[in-house]
Amino acid sequence: METLAFQGLVGLSLAMYLWLLAAGLTIVFGVLGILNFAHGSLFMLGAYFAFTFYGLWGVNFWFAILLSLLSVGIVGYLMERLFLRHIYHLDHAYQLLLTFGFILIFDDAVKMVWGGVAKIPAMPTFFEGTFSVLGRLFPIYNVFIIGAGFLVALVLWLLFEKTWWGRMVRASASDREMASAIGVNIPTLFTGVFVFGAMLAALGGALGTPVRVVAPGIGAAMIIQAFIITVIGGLGNLKGAFVGAVIVGVLSAYSILLFPVFELFLIFVIMAVVLMVKPQGLFGR
């Protein structure tokens, strides 16, 4: 029994990375209507930048994360203003294609700048150590990740429900023309939302720095899972993305423990079932 609960806890921390990745993806889709295939690449860039600041240049860990967010924010800004802006009016197929092109570009770009070899920085000392949970040792680091994920969820909820900016974003998501009519500067808002989404992805990547290697291609490897989560939860729905991430994370942890043969297949089956039965997702309208 403790084994199951403990494995669930491990799955929960796994889910938090996925949540950070999916949150940005779903927000961008909900507001801009674009499914950003390259979102995983932004995650990867967040990891690379964090590795550079913290691992190579010795910057303080927390500051390195902040810098990484800002750096990817700039990348996101350029991506939106110079490229995505021009295709909003086109069929969603072209949006998928354009963002797919970005995956290719980012994968080679990181290879060119950082080299193709996988790297990992030294472990920050304040993360070493474990708590005793359910009779097993649970890393402080994982507790931190779970905490960070929940904190982000809280902040996002507050942001979108309680602030003026959040209200504008939600208005633009449900009715772009109307929002524009009442004075919302749509182009600026879109850029802002995209940058925000990019920074969320970067946060997910950056937080993984102490325990995961950075290498070209890690972004593309994660994007499918992010898609699955946003579909399960409902495209554009933040609550759905959180629940979806938890489901996927916990489920993959359990399948590794209990039925390893089915792991890969299972996730896709769930996604297919959701798409067929309730395509708007569990929480979609």
Binding site: S13, A118, F127, R212, A221
Partner: protein
């Protein structure tokens, strides 16, 4: 529909295709008769086609192959080449995909004119390209891919004589530890965190089979399977630890191995278990990543590693010189895909000097039974399966101020003929 224009386009492009052919279709249908050249081997340049994984968390291994082969070629060229012919290397990324590997081999041999193929990290790719070597009429020397099936099945059983291997196969992962740890009487329960592909299946199955022979009291209490691109091993580690093992056996390699051990550390695995066998841990990228942990003795002496070449083991002048040259050239310490590729080139050189001919069948005969002194020790190519026989020990990572990164120490050596399998080979029964 712009059908007309489409067809026009098609015609245009095929005309371009045809007209531009002299530029890139250099190989005519029949190979040209060898012009009498001044060189004994009949060619100006001997071409080595190399392949490995060049991107993603495992890319250091492909790059190592390239570095090792390139080092050997540069040394040989500086001394006048092989019988006066210079050597050249072209290295391609096989993306860990058999289909890409096969396509690359076809390109390297038919288009680029490779005389020899070497390398490959992935067992799957090696098995696929091994099968087409007779069609290509070229020798392929594996310098990393370690499934025993490459030599036991393709060479010995199926008779594909074109395949050779200069590095130890999965005997290193599976049989060596069984022979060492059988004497660790307090280790009774083993859990496995394995690669969810050929290499993982074979290693784990062979290990279990071998250990059970010596220690029928041993139990295999858990095994988890991680595919390529696994970034987070924590669910695997926790599933393995849930079964209360005394020891863990792990096969993820390269950057994935680094992640695995790093994540295992923070999960307190090294407080819980007695021993961790990480057979690919002697690779210098891994040792570099764990240097600060080794210095602080975080592994508590429980981590055992091995490889197919350990640069600081043999203190022979030849090895020391090799390591020094390699570090100077590449700013990295060598590990086995590089060292194996280095040897592969030198084996070819020795064979060509003997045969004075590039004819595949003759080079094969020359390589069979050949023995060379290499930085990894004396390597003997066994004629039955074309596998190089030489030992590499297991040990524990230690810190020595003479080196900038952790090295392997506390060596436990077992002679090669004791832990290598010998013909006739019984196929390994794969069990999870």
């Amino acid at each position: 529909m712009k059908k007309k224009v489409g067809f026009f386009c098609l015609i245009f492009f095929f005309l371009v295709f045809i007209v531009s052919m002299p530029v890139w279709a250099q190989t005519p249908k029949k190979p040209p008769a060898k012009k009498p050249a001044a060189k004994p081997l009949g060619v100006e340049v001997i071409k080595f086609g190399g392949m490995g994984i060049m991107s993603g968390p495992l890319s250091i291994c492909g790059r190592m192959i390239m570095m090792g082969a390139q080092s050997a070629i540069e040394e040989i060229n500086a001394k006048g080449g092989i019988l006066g012919s210079k050597c050249e290397l072209k290295f391609m990324d096989d993306e860990l995909r058999p289909a890409v590997g096969v396509k690359n081999v076809r390109y390297l041999v038919s288009e680029w004119g490779a005389h020899f193929i070497l390398g490959v990290d992935s067992s799957g790719v090696a098995m696929a390209i091994g099968e087409i070597m007779p069609e290509m009429d070229r020798i392929y020397i594996s310098t990393h891919a370690s499934t025993d099936r490459l030599t036991e099945e393709l060479v010995w059983k199926k008779g594909i004589k074109h395949i050779f291997r200069t590095t130890v196969p999965t005997y290193q992962e599976a049989i060596l530890p069984a022979m060492i740890f059988k004497d660790f009487m307090h280790i009774k329960r083993w859990a496995g965190i394995n690669c969810d592909y050929e290499y993982g299946y074979v290693s784990w199955s062979l290990f279990k089979e071998t250990l059970k022979k010596y220690r029928p009291d041993v139990e295999f209490v858990a095994s988890t399977w991680a595919p390529f691109w696994t970034m987070d091993f924590t669910p695997h580690i926790s599933a393995a630890l849930a079964a209360n093992p005394d020891a863990i056996f792990s096969t993820p390699w390269g950057g994935e191995g680094v992640q695995l051990i790093r994540q295992a550390l923070i999960m307190g695995a090294f407080d819980k278990i007695q021993l961790w066998w990480h057979p690919t841990g002697a690779t210098t990228d891994f040792l570099e990543a764990v240097t600060s942990e080794v210095k602080a003795d975080k592994f508590k002496g429980k981590l055992w590693v091995s490889g197919r070449y350990i640069h600081n083991w043999l203190q022979t002048p030849e090895n020391k010189a090799f390591v020094e040259r390699f570090v100077k050239r590449w700013a990295m310490y060598p590990f086995h895909p590089g060292q194996g590729a280095y040897d592969a080139v030198y084996f070819v050189k020795a064979a060509l000097e003997k045969t004075r001919s590039l004819k595949t069948s003759e080079v094969i005969k020359a390589l069979e039974g050949m023995e060379l002194m290499t930085p990894a020790g004396r390597k003997y190519i066994r004629p039955e399966d074309h596998q190089a026989i030489y030992p590499t020990p297991a040990g524990r990572p230690v810190y020595d101020p003479a080196y900038p990164i952790a090295i392997v120490g506390d060596f436990k050596m077992i002679p090669a003929k004791e832990y290598f399998r010998h013909p006739p080979f019984e196929p390994v029964k794969i069990s999870k």
